[in-house]
């Protein structure tokens, strides 16, 4: 094995942004804002370069058997013997894919932000947070064990929280950041419990294996710099371990321990990837600066849930029912979000719902895969890859537009086609890519997902996928037409200017990627189980999908490209249905009701009251009783010597009487 420099020092990739975070946050930011932006950006570019180098070296060294290796790791937390957590770097095709995506998008977003955030008050703070996020995301991606993943999972959550709440004097941003953190935290509770279950059984299986079949452990220890531990993905995903897992007992109603653990972990994944019903934080998260939405809430952090399920895919596959839940939740979210997306007027919110919908695609694709027919696995990660580019591009384009018009409402825009030519072209490319029109990137990955769903006989899910393939172009072209075509609707649109080159360059690069990313032969790089071979386009599925997409575009053109009367008529005809969809099915209100009217009102406030009055009251009562009894006894103190003497005499008689009785 001929390891290159980066391959043996893969820790550099997450470490560079971390070092930059500390440097920028502590020393550079107070000194100079401009320097902070530059240092932060160049650090991420450096990290991206390392990631490309790593990919190159890895594919050179390990072709065609793509082993997963842990070139660097150290023990971090030792719970007890044979149960410790190491911090390390796992290198396999999946993590390399994610590293490339994260560093690429992150570096472009850093670059873009130099222009976008120019003149903002917290410029240095912004880049500090952005660096922190990049570090945490990379740490998550390279995690060799589930605990490191959880650690970085929480850290990306925290940096997302900080960035959503970046405009901290704006109450809506503050509440959005709280909401994002608390909802994902709630989901992480499931994740944590799942980890506890897996850790417990993993520890026992580890004990069994180290007694009976040490060769299995030795095999796992290959390509690893520290000894394998129960929390390691390599351990958990090993067939021998999974077989042992399946033997663990079942709970009430016949749910096996394994299924329970995997469903709980999926709850965590669903929180981060904003699956229904935990999706409510993502649209609100658009309160953050637009580049942040592009990086965190479109391209990278939100796919962490997908990545988590993919990482544990063999375990999920062993528990078929958990995987089925993944598939159906994914499919439902996919449709649900697309429907809402058709009615929103805030350009970033439409993109947010579109992200939800695309994440649903990725989840359902994982859900339909099996170990025997793992096309869905590859398709999911392929879609993750292409989606990262075109969705980041869409957000950055939207950011460019917002920057020019100073409004998020699509109805405040219009006619920007000529005012902002570069933004327009790149936005159009991204829109076509997400719509799934060949030869742009989205087409290839979506085709694979649909093929995977049909290939494993999930007709319903395939149907949903196909339907959404039509809805997506509709709502995307809706915002495209309203924003870029037609008349200038407001003064802002009238006076819009093209953004500076530092913002346009990332748009251009991403546009190129959105065009060509589909041609990457993903199946030969990323797969689980046996290599898939080259998977061509399945035209029997592709042609209907293209037709559906074209229909969607056509409808959008018919309704929004010209006269607006058609829309208002349609809206009137839909009436209540439209209202319900536009208000996002009132899910937020339900949550609000539960938290405020139930948890705060019926749990928290009573507990606070109970503590002050009952528990503390009983303590005060003890004190009061002591004083009272003292007060009562003080009445025996009459001051009459004769009373005292009487008591004395009586007591003496009693004592002697008792003595007499006992002595007999």
């Amino acid at each position: 094995m001929n390891e290159g420099f980066i391959l043996s020092n893969a820790w550099l990739i997450p470490a560079i942004p971390l070092i930059s975070f500390f440097l920028v946050g502590m020393f550079i930011r107070p000194a100079s804002k401009q320097a902070a932006g530059l240092v932060a950006t160049s650090a991420v570019f450096l990290s991206a370069a390392c990631a490309y180098m790593l990919a190159w070296e890895y594919y050179q060294a390990f072709a065609p058997e793509y082993q997963s290796i842990v070139p660097w790791s150290i023990e971090w937390l030792r719970y007890q013997e044979f149960l410790s957590v190491s911090v390390g770097v796992l290198v396999d095709p999946t993590s390399i894919l994610l590293m490339v995506v994260v560093t690429t998008v992150s570096s472009l977003v850093h670059l873009y932000s130099i222009g976008y955030m120019h003149g903002e008050e917290g410029y240095g703070r912004y880049f500090t947070y952005l660096n922190l996020f990049t570090f945490s995301m990379l740490g998550l991606v390279v995690a060799p064990n589930i605990m490191q993943m959880f650690v970085c999972w929480e850290l990306v959550g925290a940096s997302s929280f900080l960035l959503i709440g970046y405009y901290y004097d704006k109450p809506s941003a503050v509440s959005a950041s709280k909401k994002a953190f608390i909802v994902t935290r709630f989901a992480d509770l499931g994740f944590l419990l799942g980890i506890l279950i897996l850790g417990y059984f993993g520890y026992h299986v580890y004990g069994v294996l180290s007694d009976s079949s040490t060769s299995v452990l030795a095999e796992m220890n290959q390509y690893s710099s520290t000894a394998i531990q129960p929390f390691d993905f390599k351990f958990l995903n090993h067939p021998a371990v999974i077989a042992q897992f399946a033997d663990q007992g079942s709970l009430l109603g016949g749910i096996s321990m394994l299924t329970l653990a995997m469903v709980l972990i999926f709850a965590g994944a669903a929180g981060k990837s904003a699956m229904f019903p935990l999706h409510i934080w993502l649209p609100d998260a658009m309160e953050g600066p637009t580049p942040v939405s592009a990086l965190i809430h479109a391209a990278t952090m939100v796919v962490a849930g997908v990545y988590l399920v993919a990482r544990l895919f063999p375990v999920y596959a062993a528990s078929g029912s958990a995987l089925l839940i993944v598939a159906y939740i994914g499919a439902f979210t996919c449709l649900f979000a697309a429907v809402i997306g058709c009615t929103q007027d805030d350009i970033k919110r439409v993109l947010a719902f579109s992200t939800l919908s695309q994440l649903g695609y990725m989840m359902l694709s994982l859900g339909v895969a099996t170990m025997a027919h793992p096309l869905g696995y590859t398709a999911s990660l392929f879609h993750l890859f292409t989606h990262a580019f075109f969705k980041a591009l869409l957000f950055l384009g939207a950011g460019s537009v917002i920057h020019a018009v100073h409004s998020n409402e699509i109805w405040d825009m219009g006619g920007l086609k000529r005012k902002m030519p570069v933004t327009h072209i790149t936005f159009l490319i991204a829109t076509i890519a997400i719509a799934g029109i060949p030869p742009f990137a989205g087409f290839f990955s979506k085709d694979e997902i649909l093929a995977a769903a049909l290939g494993n006989h999930h007709q319903i899910i395939f149907g949903i996928g196909l339907l959404v393939a039509g809805l997506t172009p509709f709502y995307m072209f809706r915002i495209y037409f309203v924003t870029f075509w037609g008349p200038h609707r407001t003064e802002g649109a009238e006076h819009a200017h093209e953004s500076p080159p530092v913002m346009l360059l990332p748009l251009a690069i991403l546009a190129v990627l959105a065009v060509i990313a589909g041609f990457v032969p993903m199946a030969s790089f990323v797969h689980i189980g046996e290599p898939l071979g080259h998977h061509g386009i399945n035209w029997a599925i592709a042609i209907p999908a293209i037709l559906v997409a074209l229909t969607g575009i056509g409808v959008a053109w018919f309704l929004y490209a010209g006269n607006q009367d058609r829309v208002s008529k349609l809206v009137q005809n839909l009436g209540v249905v439209y209202r319900v969809i536009k208000d996002k099915f009132y899910i937020d209100e339900v949550y609000l009701f539960i938290t405020h009217n139930f948890i705060f009102k019926y749990i928290s406030r009573p507990i606070a009251w109970f503590d002050r009055n009952v528990v503390d009251g009983s303590m005060n009562l003890t004190g009061w009783a002591t004083r009272m009894s003292g007060w009562i006894l003080s009445h025996m103190q009459t001051g009459q010597v004769q009373t005292y003497a009487a008591w004395y005499a009586l007591s003496t008689i009693v004592v002697f009487g008792l003595l007499a009785v006992t002595l007999q």
Binding site: E75, W76, L77, R78, Y79, Q80, L83, M147, F150, V151, C152, E154, L155, A158, F161, G165, Y168, D169, K170, P171, V174, S175, S177, K178, F181, I182, R185, F186, D188, L189, L192, L193, L196, I197, G199, Y200, Y203, F600, I603, S604, R605, I607, A608, D611, V615, D616, S618, M619, N620, G623
Partner: protein, 505 residues
Amino acid sequence: MGILSWIVYIPFITAVFVVFTPAPKWYLIRWISTVGTGIHLILTAVLTWKYWQVASPDFSSMKTATLTKLYLVERFPWFESWGIDYYLGVDGISVSMIILTSIVIFTGVMASWHVKNRTKEFYVLLLVLVTGVFGVFVSFDIFLFFVFYELAVLPMYLLIGIWGTGPKEYSAMKLTIMLMAGSALILIGFLALYNGAGGQTFDLLELSKVDYPKSFQIWVFPLIFVGFGILGALYPFHTWSPDGHASAPTAVSMLHAGVLMKLGGYGALRMGIYVLPEGAKYWALFFMALTTINIIYGAFGAVMQKDLKYFTAYSSVSHCGFVLFGLVTLNLIGMKGAVIQMFSHGIMTALFFSLIGMVYGRTHTRIIDDMGGLAKIMPWFTTCFYVGGLASLGLPGLSGFVAESHVFLAGFFGNPWHDLGIMRFLTILATMSIVVTAVYVLRGLAKVFQGPIKNPEFAKLTDADITERISTGVLVFTMAAVGMLPWYLIDLIESSLMPFVNRLH
């Protein structure tokens, strides 16, 4: 005098220096205290180094030990006829607690830089109190332990009663009486241990060799556990804590929540579980249920608080619940988690109280709803508050996560003597607190620091000055260091915890 005696008496010697400083020279007094505690901090580093030198060769052999091994022992007969010795020694747990206390008192002295009322008496009492705390952590004669314990608890009455705010006399009285009730239980327990062992010795290690009958252990253990538990805010004996903390002056809240409450956990571990393993096994599930209530109840209680100090006090109740919860899981992971949580919560809550004191010194209000938008005016405090808040909700990379992950895992792994299902059920209940904690921390901090500036008066306020930056900076640094490099702390305490676990088997 060996290093341990110096560790105990340096605060006392500093206090003597302060006594002989003329009262009007308050600036001199605080410098003397700062220098004294600074020297103590250095000495603590030396102690840690020395401990590491002498103890690390034994780490592997401790894995099967059932008796605590002491290092740097100092021992002289004190009351020979009763078997009372002046007996000091340390193991890893003591060392970690000494580090904690030393950091907290140093930052506490700096945080009380602006105490102008009877400065001299304030510092004298503070230093005497901390002498007691150090004494507790190093004494291995239970009589001496008790003497130091009382020395640590009593000055609190004066400190809160004189320098406090709000209903300070009530709070001071309540706190002292409840803690005294705890002391009474402890004293009964200690005397029972002494008598049960034949009335020959107060030496903790000798007592731990005695094979107390199970029936004896069953009635003595709850005395000792509850006695210490009152100090460790065990439900339902925690009610002194919100009032006491809310009324106490800054440094006293820091020291009390940061260190004194740890005496509870420390004592319960050292005197309860170590000496009376059978009793611990008998009562563990019961106390586990109580501590689960602590965790959940404290967290929910904090959600609705309006005063920042009450808010922090309830969160302390919740976090101290983790300490006791970890202890009564009766396995290595849990006890380790408990000790780490003691350390982590000590630093965290000291940070919180010092920040609240500093912010209060500027805004003159602690009511959460009256504040708002302070982030713009006080970026340093905001950053520190957020780091503390994130640590408190268990964000990885800060100390809280290390402790909490241990405790959860321990509850889930259970122990051979109790029903795994019940333990897991309680653990799952306890894990729920991470969500509630996130809710109250984020709500509270958002109201105080974010949003538009609520009161135009606030715009004139200033950010932290240099002493405040040092004291909060040290605490934030410690918290991050434990969170990112937890293995140093784990190595320090792990081998010392092995006898505790081995004795149970």
